[in-house]
């Protein structure tokens, strides 16, 4: 499968509407299908030294063949645990202590190790979460795919169709008298050149009037579609027939050249299907030579290698950039659709879930709190937790804002958006507090001659009392800019001005003064606080470094700061390891606020947090800005968040500034294709919420 199917969601909608008219399908749908997976009253417990912990209780959900079902919840909600118990891969001491799991009617709740081996891979596949740790670093990619093929006894010669696809094909009436198994033979790479020649001749003969360019165009289509180890004889015959070749001739060509693939062809075919370019060459490489997105494609290929009826996709793209995420999910969607594979999609993003799945299961504290058809749940959330999630989801929030704006309903916009965007005149008046001019940063790569330009001629301003967001994907240079603004990195050329003064010219004393005014909040809530320091010492550290106040006044200040970030004063005596990610991030904000700065640089400060916690921290930042007149330089990869917080947006790609405008302008009228791609990739962005 290559990218011939459009990834435009709009197309998918059309397809959906078309389906109503297809008689055969309607006929097949009359009787109620058998559920593929039925989980009832599931209870999962872990044994720890402190006793038994119930991770999942009384949870039920059902998946039907060919369906996408999403489980949504924050970290620790039990969503992954529920999914893993289905294939018997619970970590550590976890075990199913109640309820039942039925796969195609068969009870597999307490399946033996042998039974589970039979189920895994060929009946239930898994696409795990972290592409970095889920491939064995010492085996070639191809070898790891091969293991998946061999473990499930998959034939490399012919395709295995799911019962669903076979059923539909049968209902449509497959050509009688043909041996269907032979139609599923794969094309081998050895025969492929000869097939292409024969196909060209046949198409030429069938279309005597066509120009050479037309034929070339058709052949280019074949070239892209006909991947060895992936395309089947039946498909080749159909493709030829579609371009005018007589059925008998097409069949003769198919019978002659499509004879089944070899193991290497099949490996390459599977990888190609998952969207990996140059699969045959790539299969000989090792995981460390792959980017995260490519590794995720390999994991998808492996998960689908056994042609399972159900694929568990455990946050398959959460570690990836949004545009890559979208491409991979689109691909996975097309792939599972064509194979008739059902998908149990685990995600923390409600918008993403609703966009991809027909049915949503919301989990909270180990329990299913709400489930139902995606749009219904999204539009009419009933459980208080779901309501809270819907209200906080940044992707949905930004959409709400857009629709409110398009109606000219400012009141609605204000209600749903926490951030009070300054109107244009106000913005224009605001003095710049940080000015970045033609900033360039080059790094020397190890054992390379040429320099790597991480930041290439970037200029923008942060106006006093406003928020400027830098948006970009990994490798865009946005964090490098932040570090230069913070004077943690020396720019190669260009200047950073703070209140009109070049910060690179600061002497030691001026620099210390500058540090009082410009403070950072970093990304990793687990790394930005010293685990050896109590919260009191962490917040007090800047006061101590700058010799501000005595013991007593510092204590008072720390208490005041904790109040400011809405944490109880008793938090003071605690240590970072006792706090959650969001709490640590609030401590980091308190520490940044200790010196009464003018500017706070937030480097992906909310990216690692759960939606609700993220929402809470964003609100806190907004409140602080309103009260104290702070200016923020907000670095993020998530455009949806930008909508909630920023006045101005700088879009960066490969170290270059792509677009710099006000938030409204960037969202309403994006100037460049890259910005549009980023906007498109916001999960749930295209959902029909019924808001307008």
């Amino acid at each position: 499968m290559t990218d011939t199917t459009s990834h435009n969601p709009a197309d998918q909608h059309t397809r959906e509407h078309d389906s109503h008219g297809v008689q055969g399908v309607q006929g097949a749908q009359e009787q109620t299908p058998e559920p593929l997976l039925e989980v009832k009253d599931l209870q999962v417990q872990f044994t720890t030294s402190a006793g038994t912990v119930t991770a999942v209780r009384d949870s039920s959900f059902t998946v039907y063949p060919g369906q996408w079902v999403a489980i949504v919840g924050e970290s620790g909600s039990g969503k992954s645990t529920s999914a893993m118990s289905v294939i018997g891969l619970l970590p550590g001491t976890g075990r199913v202590t109640g309820g039942s799991i039925r796969l195609q009617g068969e009870d597999i709740t307490h399946a033996s190790a042998k039974q589970l081996e039979q189920i895994r891979g060929r009946r239930i596949g898994l696409v795990p979460q972290d592409p970095m740790s889920n491939l064995n670093p010492v085996w070639r990619i191809g070898t790891q795919v091969k293991e998946a093929i061999e473990a499930n006894g998959m034939s490399v010669k012919r395709e295995k169709r799911s019962a669903l696809v076979q059923g539909i094909a049968g209902a449509e009436g497959a050509p009688a008298g043909q041996d269907q198994a032979d139609d599923e033979l794969f094309l081998g790479s050895v025969q492929r050149p000869a097939l292409m020649d024969a196909a060209r001749a046949a198409v030429r003969a069938a279309n005597p009037d066509a120009t050479d360019a037309d034929i070339d165009h058709v052949m280019a289509g074949f070239d892209a579609e006909w991947d060895a180890g992936s395309i089947t004889r039946g498909a080749v015959v159909r493709d030829l027939a579609k371009h005018g070749v007589a059925q008998a001739d097409a069949r003769a060509i198919g019978d002659k050249y499509v004879l089944g693939a070899t193991m290497n062809d099949r490996i390459a075919g599977l990888l190609t299907e998952a969207g990996l370019p140059d699969a045959a060459v790539r299969a000989r490489q090792y995981p460390h030579e792959f980017s995260g997105g490519m590794r995720q494609r390999v994991l998808i290929a492996m998960g689908l290698a056994g042609r399972p009826d159900l694929l568990i996709a455990d946050e398959p793209t959460s570690a990836l950039d949004v545009t890559v995420q979208k491409r991979i999910l689109d691909h996975l969607h097309d792939l599972t659709d064509s194979l008739g594979t059902a998908v149990l999609f685990i995600t923390h993003d409600l918008g993403l879930a609703a966009e991809r799945a027909q049915h949503i299961v919301v989990m909270y504290k180990g329990q299913v709190v709400e489930s139902g058809p995606s749009l219904d749940v999204l539009q009419h959330p009933r459980h208080p937790y779901t309501k809270r999630l819907v209200a906080a989801a940044p992707s949905l929030a930004s959409q709400r804002i857009i629709s409110a704006h398009s109606r000219g309903d400012d009141a609605a916009a204000d209600a749903s958006m926490d951030h009070e965007a300054k109107d244009a005149s106000e913005l224009a008046q605001a003095r710049p507090v940080i000015e970045v001019k033609n900033l360039v940063k080059e790094f020397r790569l190890p054992r390379r001659k040429e320099m790597f330009r991480a930041v290439d001629d970037v200029s923008f301003t942060v106006r006093r009392g406003t928020t400027c967001a830098i948006v970009g994907e990994s490798g865009s240079g946005k964090s490098t800019v932040a570090n230069m603004v913070l004077h943690l990195l020396e720019p190669t050329s260009g200047t950073v001005l703070y209140e009109g003064r070049d910060i690179s010219g600061f002497d030691k004393k001026q620099l210390l003064e500058f540090r009082r005014h410009v403070q950072p909040v970093f990304q990793n809530p687990y790394g930005s606080l010293d685990p050896m320091y109590s919260i009191y010492r962490s917040i007090e550290e800047p006061l101590r470094i700058h010799h501000i106040g005595d013991r007593k006044s510092r204590l008072a200040r720390v208490k005041e700061l904790l109040d400011m970030v809405q944490l109880p004063q008793a938090t003071m005596s605690r240590y970072p390891n006792e706090l959650s990610g969001g709490q640590r991030q609030r401590i980091a904000i308190a520490r940044a606020m200790a010196l009464n700065p003018d500017v706070i640089v937030c480097d992906e400060a909310v990216s690692a947090l759960d939606v609700l916690v993220q929402d809470q921290v964003l609100r806190l930042l907004n409140d602080l800005q309103a009260e104290q007149g702070l200016s923020y330089l907000f670095i993020t990869h998530d455009l949806a968040v930008v909508r909630q917080i920023a006045d101005d947006v700088v879009v960066m790609q490969h170290g270059k500034l792509v677009e710099h405008a006000t938030t409204d302008e960037v969202f309403g009228n994006p100037k460049t294709a890259y910005t549009r791609a980023l906007l498109d990739a916001i999960p749930g962005g295209k959902l029909k919420l019924g808001l307008d």
Partner: protein
């Protein structure tokens, strides 16, 4: 795959299904009171505050390995510091009359070839072995730790230089290096020669561990945060980086203390370790080696004392590692 017609059909069928509600997929809402909604990200104020060290201490206290090791180490320390509490005898008082006499009242381990009391000598041997172990470890941790920390923290040419020196010392096995040097100082009467030589060839392992530990600690975000707060590099090194890279060094130091004691005994066994005037386990074992067939007890008791001491330090090292780094738990 790539079977376009069936592909569309499958997707269509799935979507068609979505239009109807199938059994088991009806709209479900859990009763709100069943999972009461909690405040977002609230802090449990009832739990006691625990620092990383307090946490480690709590884990340690519950580890039987630690309890056994700690009791043994305390006992060994006590014997080394106050041998007179355990014996009234004089380890250097020997009477050939008693040569190889079996154990008797007041002399539980019997006598050796020279007619010295084995029990008394074993008790007094503790001090020499333990001193070598402790002093070597101290030297090694200070020297190796400093070199490793500098190399790791400053990187660049400092690291390159120090790492090459480390490589050179690493290429000489501890025992071989010690033999080369000690064979020239056989006449020296001090235990310091053994300590210095073991430290000279032993600092490398600590330096390597410290270097990688410091490199890891210095790349943590709180250092960047601290620098952005205005802290100087040196302040950062001492206030953040070193405290955060101590854990593996402590583990290695504890375990190596045991191995230095073994090395000292081995050197004494070869006759180039502690001078014969110092009462030591290694020396006594060496002296007793020819009595193996005649009277194994003379060999047995100092060996047992040595083994228990070393074992307790190695167990302590394991226990501390388990407490500080739960990932590499041994038991």
């Amino acid at each position: 795959m790539t079977d376009t017609t069936s592909s569309q059909s499958a997707s269509q069928s799935a979507k068609a299904q979505a239009l109807r509600t199938l059994p088991g997929q009806e709209r479900y809402v859990a009763p709100a009171d069943e999972t009461p909604l909690q405040a977002v990200d609230s802090i449990d104020e009832s739990a006691p505050a625990t620092s990383m060290w307090a946490e480690a201490w709590r884990t340690l206290r519950r580890n039987p390995l630690f309890i056994i090791a700690a009791v043994l180490i305390l006992l060994v320390l006590l014997v080394a510091l106050f041998p007179t509490l355990f014996t009234k005898g004089d380890p250097t008082y020997c009477d050939l009359e008693h040569s190889l006499d079996p154990s008797g009242p007041g002399h539980p381990f019997g006598y050796d070839l020279q007619g010295c009391d084995v029990y008394t000598r074993t008790v007094y041997g503790t001090r020499a072995s333990l001193s070598v172990g402790v002093l070597t470890t101290l030297l090694v941790v200070v020297a190796g730790g400093l070199i490793g920390a500098l190399a790791g923290y400053f990187g660049g040419w400092v690291d390159a230089l120090l790492s090459r020196i480390t490589d050179i010392f690493y290429a000489i096995p501890l025992l071989l290096g010690a033999i080369v040097v000690l064979q020239m100082f056989r006449t020296s009467e001090s235990i310091w020669k053994v300590v210095l030589v073991l430290a000279l060839f032993g600092w490398v392992s600590v330096a390597r561990i410290t270097r990688s530990s410091v490199m890891e600690a210095k790349n943590l975000e709180f250092n960047t945060a601290s620098r952005a707060l205005g802290a100087s590099r040196v302040r950062n090194l001492f206030r953040h980086v070193i405290p955060n890279s101590l854990a593996p060094v402590i583990v290695v130091a504890t375990t190596s203390l045991g191995t230095y004691i073994v090395s000292e005994a081995t050197l004494s066994f070869l006759g180039i370790g502690l001078p014969s005037t110092v009462v030591s386990w290694g020396g006594d074992i060496s002296a007793a080696q020819n009595l193996l067939r005649v009277d194994p007890a003379v060999l047995f008791w100092p060996s047992l004392a040595l083994a228990i001491t070393v074992l307790s330090f190695i167990m302590m090292g394991d226990a501390v590692r388990d407490a500080l780094d739960p990932k590499s738990r041994t038991l």
